[in-house]
């Protein structure tokens, strides 16, 4: 059985002498990322609490722009940072702890692409629908009232 490990992370910026050292290095990095999340979560800087771009008005292309820029238009920057940091953590857990870095390209793609595609699809469908139901409850013509 092959035991060679790829011993560098951050695209070769950080190289390790042994697999054990790499594991501790990744732990330090993951702890650091979690610490950033916790600090941001406790202090919630005001700058990150309101959206940076307001929805663009007018016509088809404005709608298209809103969809393309949706992480900036509809999400608080703080939440966007949390989600990105989570994906970073997930990447290093999968790549270094689960040894995905050392697997063949075919195995890696089979697992990662399938999961990522299906999960993105599911999230899109359900969040879209959730937003629609919110509208049904809350728009001007809403018949259902819950404020009693």
């Amino acid at each position: 059985m092959a035991h060679e490990h790829k011993l560098e992370i951050f695209r070769g910026l950080w190289k390790f002498k042994s697999n054990t050292q790499k594991i501790w290095g990744v732990l330090i990095f993951l702890t650091f990322v979690t610490a950033i999340e916790v600090v941001l979560g406790i202090y919630k800087p005001d700058v990150l609490m309101s959206v940076w771009i307001n929805p663009i008005e007018g016509g088809f292309f404005a709608t298209l722009a809103n969809i393309i820029l949706s992480p900036f238009v509809y999400m608080k920057p703080l939440n966007l940072i949390f989600i990105l940091l989570t994906i970073v953590k997930a990447y290093y857990i999968t790549w270094d702890f689960m040894h995905m870095r050392d697997e063949t390209k075919a195995l890696r793609r089979m697992v990662v692409w399938t999961a990522v595609f299906l999960i993105c699809y599911l999230i899109f469908i359900l969040l879209q629908e959730g937003g629609y139901v919110f509208d049904v409850y809350n728009n001007d013509k809403a018949i259902i009232k819950r404020d009693f």
Binding site: N19, L85, F97, L122, F134
Partner: protein, 333 residues
Amino acid sequence: MDSTVASTGTEGKTWGGGNQPLKASYGKLMMWFFIVSDALTFSGFLAAYGFSRFKFIKEWPIADEVFTHVPFLHGQELPMIYVAFMTFILIMSSVTMVLAVDAGHHMNKAKVTLYMFLTIIGGAIFVGSQAWEWATFIQGDYGAVQTKGGNILQFGEYVNVDGEEKFKRISIDEFAVSIPDVRVEHERSNGLWFREEASLPPYTVNEIYTGLAANDNILVRTQIINDEGEKTVLSREESLKQIRDNGKLVVKGANLHVNEYGTALFADFFFFITGFHGFHVFSGVVINIIIFFNVILGTYERRGSYEMVEKVGLYWHFVDLVWVFVFTFFYLV
């Protein structure tokens, strides 16, 4: 002519058969397939959570106000600290697991044993913390009144903290007035033979209302999140009116029917998602214990390969991976 094609011209190539294109054993590959399908299950739960949250985006509980407790630090509001500790424990046990796998590659039985043991301890601490988190959540702290429409009304007052007006929650225990004419809980010893009912709420709405009317400083806070991202606080008249006209049930703590923190769905998803994850951690610990004993007994030493440690390791890391997402979507976002 043959009715089936036996040679397709791929002989000797990657997928021609007779070799291992993925360079992974059957067991490991199946573990990966299981992990993909389990990842889809968890993402189904989290996406459903997202759906419900988008549906009630204006009234969803704020996690920082719900999970504020840390063991041994009673009465202090420390959001995030304990759950960050739990995250760290789980990542740490992931590290000891991957160290065990590494030691297995070097056929070092003593080290595999040690690291597997540490992994099991980490998992046990996590499950214990999860249980404590549940117990705290179920018990609740301030209590609230549920309205006829199913909304939650909480109580508090404005206090001056360092020259800043802040809304501070008040427990219903502090102001509710006990009125002796309340209904007695039906027990199996009286009335219908062997019939009993679930325990009654600690107070009636009338007791809460009387207490509220007697304390001028107390205001009602609704579920609705205002433009500043905080829950709306009602005026004094409006507070009394809401409790008098709409108050239906006094709620303390959380269960699958009601919860004092806000919309009932929040508690449902909390129990369901963290429960399902906790169950994964629990079964992971059990599997780890089995593998641990196999390591001690020398099963893998005789087999000449510690790949079983690697396979259970994959599962254990996956549990960690899921927690990273649960942590983000339940406690941070």
